[in-house]
């Protein structure tokens, strides 16, 4: 979308009515109040160099706000206007955005830690001690990194649950759900590979237990585990591999997947609650077009099986998914951006507070000959470990986790019920809630209720949890 598009009606369409006073061309020129006067700032703002970087002054008119969005790389991630209901906290609880913010915090703190860390068996643990004791704010940065990682796993899982309960994985968002599941797996992979890097007893044995789960995959399990840890047991090769995965392969993959994920949120439109009737996917001919949409009956629309809007050809489901009626849209800048800034500040405050209050664990140097009691996988795999102590490894190690991942990936293709209203989806919601509850119970038992020898203990007798 360019400035030009906003100004002129496209052939066969009508112009977007932004509801404001049509500003004169002069209003966009540097003579505007924001660059008026003879002060240094104003002179800089009027300079050709400044105007080449910041093309539009912040003019507080609908048109000015739209131009801000179009012409700013960072704001361009957002749509210029969004439905007002998106602003409500309970629309999404901002969980996807919170996950993204946590990923940003993790990237920043992670790069900082990279300056002080060498991934070798001989130096890794010493570097961790140096970060704790000899690097300015090193301990705090590591704490924030650690707690953000745990919170990101939590936020992504909650985001997934929220999207499920809202039915937002249904047509036309099936593929974005799949990408979301991939992002969840990448998040787990990032957290797990990072777990080994301190090279202390906690990380060594948690990763030993975690990677040994791979052995239970039939036929390929043994060689896959060998490939993952680069040998028969965890050593230098494992540390090198996990480091490369943790700082390069997985983050880059997340950035790519996240880019597609967010892009598709825009392309698929914002999810709304719809009953089975209105959401059959069939476009009702003769339906009144929403005020902002022009519907020329031209060939391209039929060609692409969609409808032509001002902004181009849009898949018909995403058009019908948008609520019709009065124009309830608001400008992203400032309405949504301000909320996002507040959420981002809130998340930062929380992880900083956690970092100040709780020290990330660093036990003794990894000792392959001394297993601590009990050796637990990281908490997000503790449910799997708990399951493994009850069932045959083929069931608990393979059928359940692989079945769960496959079911999650295929969910939008299995559940063809178009309704997103809870009372029309009793079966799906019951099954999902049951499985989620089961996973929660297993994780809580494995994390809090298991002591030495994997015997039941009450969590208050002795705390065996380390995150």
């Amino acid at each position: 979308m360019t400035e030009h598009d906003a100004e002129e009606a496209p052939p066969g369409g009508v112009a977007v009515d932004d509801g404001g006073e049509p500003p004169t061309r002069d209003a966009l020129e540097p003579s505007h109040a924001y660059a008026a006067g003879n002060g240094v700032t104003a002179r800089i703002r009027r300079s050709a160099a400044w105007r080449s970087a910041f093309r539009h002054p912040p003019i507080d008119t609908p048109r000015g706000r739209a131009l801000q969005g179009f012409s700013n790389f960072f704001l361009h991630v957002y749509p210029v206007k969004i439905p007002a209901r998106v602003l409500r906290l309970r629309y999404s609880f901002r969980l996807g955005f919170i996950s993204t913010v946590l990923f940003g915090i993790l990237t920043t703190t992670g790069i900082y830690l990279m300056f002080f860390y060498t991934p070798t068996v001989g130096t890794a643990y010493g570097d961790m001690q140096t970060i704790h004791t000899g690097v300015g704010f090193g301990q705090l940065i590591r704490n924030v990194h650690r707690w953000s990682a745990h919170l990101m796993v939590l936020a992504v899982v909650l985001h997934l649950a929220r999207v499920f309960f809202a039915g937002a994985y249904k047509k036309p968002r099936e593929f974005n759900w799949v990408i979301g599941v991939v992002l969840l797996l990448l998040t787990l992979g990032l957290s797990f590979t990072g777990y080994l890097l301190p090279w202390d007893q906690l990380s060594y044995w948690a990763v030993t237990v975690g990677t040994n789960l791979v052995h239970y995959i039939p036929l390929v399990g043994g060689s896959l585990a060998k490939l993952l840890i680069g040998g028969d047991q965890i050593g230098q090769a494992t540390l090198t591999r996990f480091y490369a995965l943790h700082v390069a392969v997985l983050p880059l993959t997340v950035v790519l997947a996240l880019g597609i994920h967010i892009w598709r949120v825009r392309k698929d439109g914002f999810a709304v609650e719809r009953s089975a009737v209105g959401a059959s996917g069939a476009f009702e001919e003769g339906a009144t077009a929403p005020p902002n949409v022009a519907v020329p009956a031209t060939a391209p629309a039929e060609l692409y099986g969609g409808r032509t809007r001002v902004l181009g050809v849009v898949d018909r489901e995403s058009v019908t998914a948008e609520e019709r009626g009065v124009d309830d849209t608001v400008f992203t800048w400032p309405h949504l951006i301000v909320r996002h800034v507040v959420v981002a500040l809130g998340v930062t405050t929380v992880v900083l507070a956690l970092g100040v209050l709780f020290v990330a664990p660093l036990r003794g140097l990894a000792n392959p000959n001394l297993t601590p009691e009990p050796a637990k996988a990281p908490w997000y795999f503790a449910g799997l470990q708990e399951l493994l102590s009850h069932f045959d490894p083929l069931v608990a190690g393979i059928l359940v986790p692989i079945g769960a991942i496959l079911t999650m990936v295929l969910l939008p293709y299995i559940d063809r019920n178009p309704s997103t209203v809870a009372r029309h989806r009793k079966v799906a919601i019951t099954i999902f809630s049951g499985l989620l509850g089961l996973a929660l119970v297993l994780t809580v038992i494995g994390t809090f209720f298991r002591g030495p020898g994997w015997e039941f203990i009450a969590p208050w007798t002795h705390w065996y949890v380390e995150l």
Binding site: T208, V209, K226, A375, E455
Partner: protein, 164 residues
């Protein structure tokens, strides 16, 4: 089909070539990630006279990460790694059994499964007698005896090391 033969032939050729390239590159990359031979276990280690190992004991050999267990009628080289999830399993002298601290699997002195989540007995290394001394080949790991095997099983001689 007929009027497009050349175009389709070329298209198929490009696709096949591309697929071949991806497959070859992928295979090479995959192979390059495989650990080098010998990066796992070590070679053969000599562990002294068989008489050093008293019946009913299991002696830990740190350099091989294994136990030499004298079951009374056999000398076995048992890997210290629990077949369940890879924890290091200590030998409990009071019960005369291997007891995994992580998840509660226990094994008799011959490494045979008694209880717990482990699906199989403890792995073993080949053990031989050369020039009167015990030699263990740590480069070879044989899977342990299946569940239900009870060749070396004797009643526990005392309490467990871990409270259960």
């Amino acid at each position: 089909m007929a009027h497009n033969t050349r175009r389709e032939f070329l298209r198929t050729g490009w696709r096949a070539g591309g697929a071949l390239l991806v497959a070859a590159g992928g295979w090479t990359f995959w192979e390059s990630l495989r650990p080098l031979a010998g990066s796992g276990g070590g070679g053969k280690i000599k562990l002294g006279q068989p008489g050093n190992y008293q019946p009913g004991t299991a002696t830990f050999v740190p350099e091989g990460r294994l136990f030499i267990a004298n079951t009374g009628n056999a000398l076995l080289a048992i890997s210290q790694k629990c077949p369940h999830l890879g924890c290091q399993v200590p030998f409990c002298d009071s019960s005369g059994r291997f007891e995994c601290p992580c998840h509660g699997s226990s094994f008799d002195i011959g490494g045979e499964w008694i209880e717990g989540p482990s699906p199989i007995g403890m792995s073993q290394h080949p053990i031989t007698l050369e020039d009167g001394s015990v030699v263990v080949d740590t480069s070879t790991v044989n899977p342990g005896p299946p569940r239900g095997s009870a060749v070396h099983l004797t009643p526990a001689r005392g309490p467990k090391c871990k409270k259960g």
